[in-house]
Structures are given as structure tokens and as C-alpha cells.
Amino acid sequence: MKFSLEYLWKCILSGIIYIPVTLKLALIPLALAIVFGTLIALARIFKVPVVEKFFKIFVAIYSGIPGVVTMLIFHLIYLSLFKPAKNGIMLLAYFTFTLGRTIVVSESVRGAFLSIPKGQYEASYACGLSTFQTLKKIIIPQVIPVALPALTNNALGSIKNTSIVLVLGIVDVLNGATIPCADTYSYVEGYVAAAIIYWVINAIVEFFLVHLEKHLSKKK
């Protein structure tokens, strides 16, 4: 097998152009997942009737299915229900990723909430704070440093996981890096180029989140 560095560079340049696509696919669902995941976690912790049961079952089922499989299923449902639209496939990817991430994030956030002793709630209530004030002033500031390592993992996982849009034909970093390979049928450089780009993105993201973790845990 021949490996050409010059060709690798060409693939990297071709992949870099699509970094915004990959970041959009990773970060928009992640941001939505943090919002929805926290709400689901709260619903389960405060044992909101019906909602709690529903998400418990939903989480149990959904977390047992690989992302690619759900994506393929949703793709077929989409094709049979909707007329092809310009951004349709992209929206489908956002939808699938958001759903999957929400489940994972809700579990990490729930774990972080459960790690806060009951006494913190009780002391706050006893001091005359309402439930909302208790969450805002006392509980959530303590939950964030606990949840952050898991959320860092989630952010990295979210970026890596976007590569499964391959099955939908969306051109992201992985697909973009292999564009030059179509001429030569030598895909090794393309895949290695994609690996390098993903690694660099994740290294940067991890660097920032680890610093944020350190900054927040110093305050305790």
C-alpha cells in the first residue's frame, strides 16, 4: 500500500472546509440536549407524574439502540412521509442527534443532581427559599462542577458521533476528506486526514472544557 503525504495534505485541506458542517451537527444537538436533558432529569428527580414514567421507559428503550440504526430507521420514515426538501436530510440528522444526546445528557445530569445531598434542599427550604430559588441559587451551582466531566465526554462523543451522517450522504469532515480519493481510489489518506481533523477539533474542545472544570472546582 502506498501512502503519499502530499496526497494526505490535499485530503486534509478538502476536509477542513467541512469543519463547520461537523461542528453544526455536533454542537446544535448538544446545546438542545443540555436544555432538554436537564428538563427530563428534573422531571424524573421531582417525580412529575406520568412524565417521569414516560421518560424512564423511553430512556431505557432508546439508550439500547445504536445511533446508526435509529438514524436509518428515521431516514426511511422521513423518505416515506415527506417530500424531499432542500434541508430535509440535515434537519433529520439534527433531530436524530438531538434525541440521542438528550438521553445521554439527561442521565449524566440526573446523576449529578442525585449526588447533591438532600440536606442542601432542606436547608434552603428551611431558610425560606422557594423550589425555583433553591435550584437556581443552591443546587444548580453545585450540580454544574459535578456534571461537567460527563458533559465534556458528551461534547467529545457528540463530535465523533457526527461521522455517522455518512449513511445519509451529508458531506461533513469525513465525507469531505475523501472527496479527492474519488479520483485515485486510494482512500487511506482520506480516512487518515479525517482522523487527524477530528482529533485536533476534540483536543481543542477538551482543552477548553478541562480548564473550565478546573476553574469551577476551585470555587469550592
Binding site: 445531598p117 440536606g119 442542601q120 432542606e122 436547608a123 434552603s124 427550604y125 428551611a126 431558610c127 425560606g128 427559599l129 422557594s130 430559588q133 441559587k137 443552591i138 451551582p141 453545585q142 470555587k219 469550592k220
Partner: protein, 250 residues
Amino acid sequence: MIKIEHVKKSFGHLDVLHDVSLTVDDGSVVVILGPSGSGKTTLLRSINFLERADKGKLTIGSSSVDLHSAKKKEVLEIRRKTSMVFQNYNLFANKTALENIVEALVTGHGIPRAQAVERAKEELRKVGLSDKENYYPSQLSGGQQQRVGIARAVALDAEVILFDEPTSALDPELVGETLALIKQVAKDGHTMIVVTHEMSFAEDVADKVVFMDGGYIVEEGSPQDIFYHPKEERTRQFLRRIIPVGEYVI
């Protein structure tokens, strides 16, 4: 005056409180004694709705609420008229000693920040922790944490301060100083309900001692009555076991 009437509470099949009533005069100290599982902590926690009683009525001053069906707003109102010192201190882990008190005053009681800081500093000075204002709970010893807990409860200027076994989790060496501090709080004229196992403290401080067992108030009276002339056999039995006969010889 604080009046608790006909409180009932059960956890599943376990009846923890059967029809308990208690009156606390303004400025007086009521000490609740009793073996574990007698319902004394549950009674205390029903007063500020940390436990929701199945039945009962609470009157503080001129306002009454139903302990079972009180609405959110009523619960909040009662919680703002009471304050609590916990067995495990329960200081806010994300706040400094000073901020623990300030947060309760500002967010819980709507007191302007500048005024709250001033009052918090004053209370910390009274418990001898002025130099620890900016320490987080994890940087304080158990005794120091509990002193902040007491300062927080006192600062809230509540109509009644509830003490839930305030020295049970402390190092034996630190119990004395904490009890001395609580005595000082009592001397300042605060209305207090104290659940404790510290008999000599009860004898010194209480205006009224209440002995509970099995979810009932077995006997109540002055410390003199309860400790030296108990009427009920159950009270005598309990005191015999707790108060050592004779002195320790080491």
C-alpha cells in the same frame, strides 16, 4: 405563641405521630426528649413542612395553617417565620460562611443585600467566627460549621428556631462549646424547640421538657418535674437508662 395541634403522620404502615399537640410560649425554650424512633424529629420537621403531616394544625402568632393541606404560598410563609439548625449542619456547600447567611436573608427573606451583609457579619462575630467569613464549609470543622448553622438560623430573626439534634454529629470535645452557644441564643430571648439527647443541657435551658415515645407525648412539664418527679413509668425507665447512677471513676 406557637401551637401545634393534633398532628398525625405515618410513613406507609408505620405510624410515627399519633395525635400530638404542643404549645410553645413566646420566648420560651421547649426541649423534646425521647428514644430514637419516638417521632420527635418528625414532629419538628412537620412544623416547617420538611415533612408533610397527614393531619394537624399549626398556629404561629395570629395565623393558622393546616399541616396537611397548606398551599405552596402558606408553606413558604411558615418557613419564613421559622428557621432550623440541622444535625448535619447543612450549610450550602457552594457558599462561604458569610454568603450562607446572606443568601438566606436576601433570597429567602427579601432583605436588601447591604443590610444582610451587615447582619451576617454581626451574627458571625457573635459565634466567634469573624475570621472565617470567607471560608467554604468544606474548610471548616464540624463545630465551626454548626456555629455558622446557628448564626444562620438566628440571623433570620424567626419567630421560632427549630434545633434538630444540633450536637449529635459533633466530636465529643466540641459538644460543650456548641451547647454553650445554644444556651446563649436561648438567653437572648429566642423562642426555641430543641430536639436533643443532652440531658443536662435540657435541665439548664428548658422552660418545658417534653418526653415522647412511640409517637405520643408521654409527659411534659418543667425540667424539675420531668427529671426529678416523673409521673409516668415510661419516663422513669428512659431517664434511668440515660442518666448514669453515680459518677464515672477512671
